[in-house]
Amino acid sequence: MSLNELWFLLIAVLFVGFFFLEGFDFGVGMETQILAKNDTERRILINSIGPFWDANEVWLITGAGAMFAAFPHWYATLFSGFYIPFVFALLALIARGVAFEFRGKRDSKAWQKTWDVCIFFGSFLPPFLLAVVFASFIKGLPIDKDMQMYAGFFDIVNAYTVVAGITVVLLCLVHGLMFTTIRTLGDLQERARKLAQKLLIPLAALLVAFVVMTYTMTDIFDKHGTLLWIVVILGVAAYLLAGYFMTKKKDGYAFGMTGAVMALSVASIFIGLFPRVMISSLDQAFNLTITNAASGQYSLKVMTIVALTLLPFVLGYQIWSYFIFHKRVHEKEHLEY
C-alpha cells in the first residue's frame, strides 16, 4: 500500500469513526425534542452523552486536519467550494457545543428552552449538511482544471443529496435511540427502543432509495461493483440483525448493528470515490485523486509515523473513558447539565 492510499484509508476511518460516534450523540441531541417528555428526561439524555460528545467531535476536526495535511488540494477545494453549507454547519456546531454547557447554568425556563432549540438544530443540521456534502462528492461537482470548484445551489442541493441527508439524519436518530437504550433505564429506555423499531421501516425505505439512486445516478458501482455489493449485502444483514436484536431487547448488540449500518454507509462513499477524492462533473481529467491532491512523500511519511505512534494511545484512553462511564444514567444521581 502506498502512503497516499494509507492516508486515504486513514481519513476514511476518521470520518467513519466520526459518524459512528458523533452519530449517536447527534441522535440523542435530536431525541431531547422528540423523545423526552419533561426536563428531567431531557437532562438524563444530555448527561448520557455528556462525557463523550466533545471527544466524538474531535474525530471530525482530526479528519479535516488529516485532509489538510495529506491532501491539501482536497481540503482547499472542498472547504472553499462548499462555503455556505459549511457556514451553516459551523453555526450549528457552535450553538450546540455551548448549549450543552450553558443550558443548566441559569434557572429560567426561557433560557433552557433557547439552548434546547440550539441542541436540537445543532444535532440535526450538521449530519444533514455533511451527508449532503459527501453525497455530492460521488455525484460529481463542477471542478475546473485549476481544481477550483464553482458550484451552484442545485449542484449541491438536489434530490440525490437531500435523500442522503435525510437518510443519515434518520440513521443518527435510530443509532442515538439505541444508545439511549443502553445508557438509561425504565420508561425512557422502553420508549427509545419502541421509537427505534417504529423508524426501522421508513429508514429502510430511505436506504433502499439511496442505494438505487446511487446505482443509477453515479458511476461508483461501475468502478467498484463487487466491493460495493459486498458492502450493501453486509449493510442489509446488519440492518436485519439490528431489527432482530431490538425485538429481543438485546440493546447492546442492536446498538452495534445500527452503528455498523452507519459505518458501512459512510465507508461506501469512500470506497466509491477511491482513488479519486473529488469527482469533476466537467471532465474526468479534472478529478482530484489521491495522487494529484496529495502532499509530498516526506510529509506523508512524517505524518504516518506520528499517526501510527499516537493512535493506539488515543484509541486506548477513549475506550477507557467509555468504560468509566458505562453505568446507566438515572434521575437519582447528580445531573451535570
Binding site: V58, T62, Y75, A76, G81, L90, E101, F102, Y150
Partner: protein, 462 residues
Amino acid sequence: MDTVLLSRIQFASTTIFHYFFVPVSIGLALIIAIMETMYVRKGNEEYKRMAQFWGKLFLINFAVGVVTGILQEFQFGMNWSDYSRFVGDVFGAPLAIEALLAFFLESTFIGIWIFGWDKVSKRIHLLSIWLVALGTMLSAFWILLANSFMQHPVGFTLNNGRAEMNDIFALITNGQLLVEFPHTVLAAYATGAFLVTGISAYKLLKKQDVAFFRKSFEIAAIVGVISSFGVAVAGHAQAQYLVETQPMKMAASEALWGESGDPAPWTVFANIDVKNQTNSNEVQVPYLLSFLSYSKFSGDVKGMLELQKEYEVAYGPGDYIPPVKTTFWSFRIMVAAGTLMMLFGVYAIYLMWRKKMDRPNTWFMRFMFWGLLLPPIANTAGWIMTEIGRQPWTVFGLMTTEDSVSPNITSGQVLFSVITFNAIYAILGAVLVGLFVKVIKKGPYAMDNEHGESHDPYNKEG
C-alpha cells in the same frame, strides 16, 4: 468590498475572539491542576472546592474556546484555499498533529474530569486535569509551530509552486517557535492567573468568603508574577529574533522610517504621518532600542525606507511596509499592559510576604480587579502586532495575503459569514460574561449540594 478585505476581517475577528478564551483555558487549567494537587496531597476539602469553583468558570470558557476553534481550523480552507494549497504540506501537518495529540487528550479527559468526581479515584481525577493542562499546552505548541512557519519559513523546498516539507526537525526547532512558544504560553498562564486574582480581589473587596478567595488569590498571584516576568524575558528574546528575521516588522513597530542612529533610542510616543513617511512630536528613551534589539547599549536599527528598497530587490516591486500605526501602537499597548502586570504581581507578592493580605489596601484590590483585563489586552495587541506587522505576507517572503484568498468565493458569501459569525460572537461574549458574573456572585459555597449527599433533581431545575 473585495473578498480579500472581507476574508481578512473574517480572519481577524475569528482569531481575536477565539484568542480571548484560549489563554484563559491554558492558564486556568494549570491553576486548577495546582489547586487539585494540593487537595489530593493535603486532603483539605477547601482546595477541592477551589478546583470546582474555578472549574465552573473554566468550563464555560472552555466551551466557547472549543467551538470557535472549529471555525478557526475550517476557515483556512474556506477563505484561504490558495494558501492551503500552497502550504498544506507544511501547515496541515502540525494542525493534524495538534488534533491527534492535543484535542483528543483535552476533550476526553475534560469529560472524565467533569463527570468523574465520584466515578474515578482521586488520583485518576487529578491526573485528568493535569492531562487537560498538558493538552492545552501541546495544542499551543503545534499551532504556534504552524504560525512560526508563517513568520519564518524553514524546513521546506519549493516544488511545483508548492512549499513541500523536507525537514520536520527544522520546523520543531524553528528559532521563531523557540521564542514565540514560551512567550505565548507564559502569557496564557498570566492570563489565567490575573483572572483568578482579579475575581478574588473583587470578592475580597466585598468581604465575601474571605478565606477562600485569599487562598485563591495567593496561589494565582504566585503563578501570575512568575509568568509575567517570564513573558517579558521571552518577549525580549523574541524582539531580538525579530530584528534578525523580520526587520520590517520591527521597524514598523518602532515607526522607524529612516536609520535609527547608533545607539538607537526607543520611541515612547510619536505622531505618525504615514503619507509623508515621517513622525513628529516624538518622545524617546535613549539607548533603549539598541538594548531591545541586541541586548547592548549600541548598534543601529534599519528603517522602513531602506528595508523597502532591499525587499524590492529581493521580492520584486511592491509595497512591503505594513500598516505602521497599527503595528506601532499595538506593540506599545502590549508592553504597557505587560509592565503593569509585573508591577501588580510584585506588589501582591510583597503583601503576601509581609503577611498583609488580611487587610490589603482597597485601592490595590481595585487595581487587581481591573487588572484581569490586562492580559487579554496584551494578548490581543501582541497578536495584532505579529500578524499585521507581517503584511503584505501570509508566509514571509513566499506568499502574499492577496494571493492566499480562495478564488472561487464571492464577496457576498464572505460578507454573509462575517455578519453571521460576528453576530454569534457578540451573543456568545455577552452570555459568557453574564454567566461568569452569575457564578461569581453565587460564590463557591452555592455548589454545596451539587455533589453532596442530596441528589434530588427536582430541587433545582437546571
